[in-house]
């Protein structure tokens, strides 16, 4: 729980603090006490404000459809007996939904592994191999970082149709691999470049070839970066709706697309949407809480050094 703590807080300087405080009058101390109280109340309200939307949907997912249509979710506080797992049970008995859940996994796992592996290989080449125009190629990859996925929807639906993989899980996976690679290469190349040269040379003296060097020295050293990248790519693909909306069909659609189709009749479908949304959120939230450090450090790696 401590990873969201601001990393390496600058050492507080207690020395000048003491005399200042001593000089403070009673009134000033009272004023700062009131301000501190107001600050705490304000932050508490913000926290509640941030939690209520999700909490409302969570409670709704545990209510009976008839209760949902007659009263607001906050009524459970006065009638906790309303809570039931009925919506979840009927949802998990629905073959389309479980199928979509498996599709999400079949899309996410390969798309994540492929990006990490291919990205690591290219990142290593850009960091430690000699070839003509290495830095120019790398600049090209960096340029691709900001390309919006929307640009590729129309061209790739044509290409995938020609290849016969439109509507197939493979197409969705390929799309995510393509758009995951620029960031993967960028992140890993920068990480690999920081590996001390002596480490690689020592392995070379032991007679390791380029491939063995990569597999036995570089990859284990880069485990934290690989984990950060893997978590990001995993969440990105798991949470995607747009790409799957275009490139999957009824048999290959992931959970996000299956749920999206129920949104049109929002009011009458809340007993599907609420538990469905939570099933789709369980994995990302678990990953988030389990790997906060990597999650946050990934955010930082991308944006600020």
């Amino acid at each position: 729980m401590t990873t969201l703590e601001t990393p390496a807080p600058a050492p507080k300087t207690p020395a000048p603090e003491a005399p200042v405080q001593a000089r403070r009058s009673v009134a000033a101390r009272l004023a700062s006490g009131v301000a501190g109280g107001a600050l705490r109340v304000f932050l508490l309200l913000v926290a509640v404000f941030w939690l209520v939307p999700t909490f409302g949907l969570l409670v709704s997912s545990f209510r009976d459809p008839t209760d949902i249509s007659t009263s607001g979710w906050w009524k459970v506080f006065s009638a906790p007996a309303q809570l039931t797992t009925k919506s979840y049970e009927s949802l998990l008995e629905n073959g389309d939904v479980t199928n979509a859940l498996f599709n999400t996994i079949w899309i996410t796992v390969p798309a994540t592994l492929l990006v990490v592996l291919i990205g690591a290989m290219a990142g290593y080449a850009f960091a430690w191999l000699d070839f003509k125009g290495r830095d120019w190629w790398f600049m090209g990859v960096v340029g691709l970082l900001v390309v919006p996925v929307q640009v590729a929807l129309i061209p790739l639906s044509g290409l995938f149709r020609d290849l016969g993989i439109f509507g197939d899980i493979i197409g969705v996976v390929l799309f995510h691999v393509g758009f995951g690679l620029p960031f993967a290469i960028f992140l890993l190349r920068n990480f690999f470049a920081e590996i001390p040269r002596e480490l690689l040379e020592a392995a070379r003296l032991d007679g390791a070839g380029e491939l063995r060097l990569f597999a036995t020295v570089v990859l284990p050293l880069a485990a934290p970066a690989l984990a950060s990248l893997g978590i990001f790519q995993f969440l990105w693909v798991w949470n995607d709706m747009l790409v799957a909306l275009v490139f999957s069909s009824s048999g290959s659609q992931p959970l996000t697309v299956a749920l999206q189709q129920q949104v049109r009749q929002f009011g009458s479908n809340i007993e599907i949407l609420a538990p469905g949304a939570f099933i789709s959120m369980v994995i990302p939230l678990a990953v988030f809480f389990a790997f906060q450090r990597q999650f946050v450090s990934g955010v930082m790696a991308g944006a600020v050094k």
């Binding site: 390496a8 960096v142 758009f179 960028f186 920068n190 990105w236």
Partner: protein, 451 residues
């Protein structure tokens, strides 16, 4: 969409510095080894990212089904077609409002959480939405914004606050008994008698339209008023089981308490009264000869809250959900920047007599400027691609009002439009909008290499 954080963030312009020493391969690379490592990535990038860019540019010059060359007509259409213009306008609103709002909130949270002990827990709560999909966030906020105050929490709060300040009307569905009594509709939901009231002759104002067992509270039986003043009775001219004479106060018929009665002479209100527990009211003698009016406020429908997802508010409402998702991102990045700020500078300012606001405004914010710019630029890129939130939260009838470019691209190409020419043109426009950042990234990298 969490990894969008870094995907776009990587583009935001702060690239880590590579080590200064040139990294020669330690083994002496043979070409085929380099090719082995690079080829998979380059082939995939070429086919899945580079080729689509080229194809989109080419395709955008052709018509809907790709058979006829139309030049730049598709681009002209983006800025002339009404539906697409709304999307352009809304994207501009998004870019102008959302990143600034998110960054400002992130800055406030980052600075304030440093001063409480549970700041870490607070950050965790605010950052959590980054992990979930925009679809889930959309469903969450669709429920928040539901119009019915018994469903959507936003309107539940709004209506309960509203009811504190505005008296709820007592009998929303009541109306005069048309067969008995002489109350007639007089505009604005009010009812006025045709005849005038005389002192000593109690006025009878019978109402119907509510079931006696649905009346609020425990109503008493109505009483015909007596006395010599200007008086009358407002009551429910109906009792369970039926019976009784229409237009007369029969035993068992319930009084309507708290109904406002106005005495009107020549269109002017000369006196007002409110019916008591037994339904009777009495007016001052100045009301003698006036007509009686029951103002519309007695019968107004209950306040139903704000139409969040109606045409006027749908874009701000969706932006609100975006702020909820991304404020944590800005907060965490700014907090990291804040950790690198030299506390001695802040302390020095305090010793010099600056108050907290001055320290924040004159010292903290300028020191954080580089981080704030990175956050802002990252969000601007991200906002231009927002699709899921609008698609999910805006209900069908107002989706056109909430449209943004990224959604319009999908709608014209796949959402029944089938116009790949226009869709490609919108895609190219989106790409052009992020080009400056692409250029900044590459330039920065080159500079670092030359150092």
């Amino acid at each position: 969409m969490s990894s969008a954080v870094t995907k776009t963030a990587g583009g935001a312009g702060a690239l880590p510095t590579p080590p200064a020493a040139p990294r020669k391969s330690v083994t002496g690379t043979r070409l085929w080894v380099a090719a082995l490592f690079l080829l998979p990535a380059l082939v995939l990038l070429g086919a899945l990212v580079v080729y689509p860019i080229g194809y989109s540019v080419w395709r955008s010059l052709f018509d809907a089904d790709g058979s006829g060359f139309v030049g730049l007509d598709n681009y002209v259409e983006i800025f002339t077609d009404d539906a697409t213009l709304v999307a352009v306008r809304n994207t501009a609103i998004w870019v102008a409002v959302a990143p600034a709002l998110v960054t400002a909130l992130g800055l406030i949270f980052a600075v304030l959480t440093e001063r409480v002990r549970w700041g870490t827990a607070f950050k965790l709560i605010v950052f959590m939405p980054m992990a979930i999909s925009m679809l889930a966030a959309g469903i969450i906020f669709r429920l928040v914004y539901e119009q019915d105050p018994d469903q959507g929490v936003a309107n539940a709060v709004v209506t309960s606050v509203h009811d504190v300040f505005v008296d709820e009307s007592v009998y929303p569905k009541a109306r005069p008994n048309a067969q008995a009594g002489d109350l007639r509709p007089s505009g604005g939901g009010s009812f006025t008698t045709e005849g005038t009231v005389r002192a000593g002759t109690p006025a009878l104002l019978p109402l119907v339209g509510i079931a006696p067992n649905r009346l609020p509270g425990t109503p008493q039986d109505a009483k015909a008023s007596t006395g010599s003043g200007v008086t009358g009775t407002v009551w429910l001219d109906f009792r369970l089981g039926g019976g009784g004479e229409k237009g007369a106060v029969d035993p068992g018929e319930k009084a309507l308490e708290g109904v406002k009665v106005e005495a009107v002479k020549d269109g002017k209100v000369v006196a007002t009264a409110t019916s008591g527990t037994d339904g009777t009211f009495s007016l001052p003698s100045s009301a003698d000869g006036a007509r009686l009016r029951l103002p519309g406020s007695n019968f107004a429908a209950p306040y139903n809250g704000i139409d969040w997802l109606g045409p006027a508010l749908v874009t701000p409402a969706v932006i609100g959900s975006y702020v909820w998702m991304w404020a944590g991102f800005a907060m965490v990045l700014i907090a990291a920047g804040l950790a690198g700020v030299d506390r001695n500078l802040l302390e020095a300012a305090r010793v010099d007599g600056a108050n907290e606001w001055q320290v924040f405004r004159r010292v903290t914010v300028p020191l954080l400027a580089p981080v704030l710019v990175v956050v802002l630029v990252t969000l601007i890129i991200n906002v231009m691609k927002v699709f899921d939130l609008v698609y999910i939260i805006a209900p069908q009838p107002t989706q056109d009002e909430a449209n943004v470019l990224a959604l319009q691209l999908y709608l014209v190409s796949y959402g029944g439009g089938g116009d790949f020419g226009l869709g490609s043109a919108i895609g190219v426009v989106l790409l052009l909008l992020v080009m400056p950042v692409m250029w900044v990234n590459i330039r920065r990298l080159r500079k670092e290499r030359q150092r």
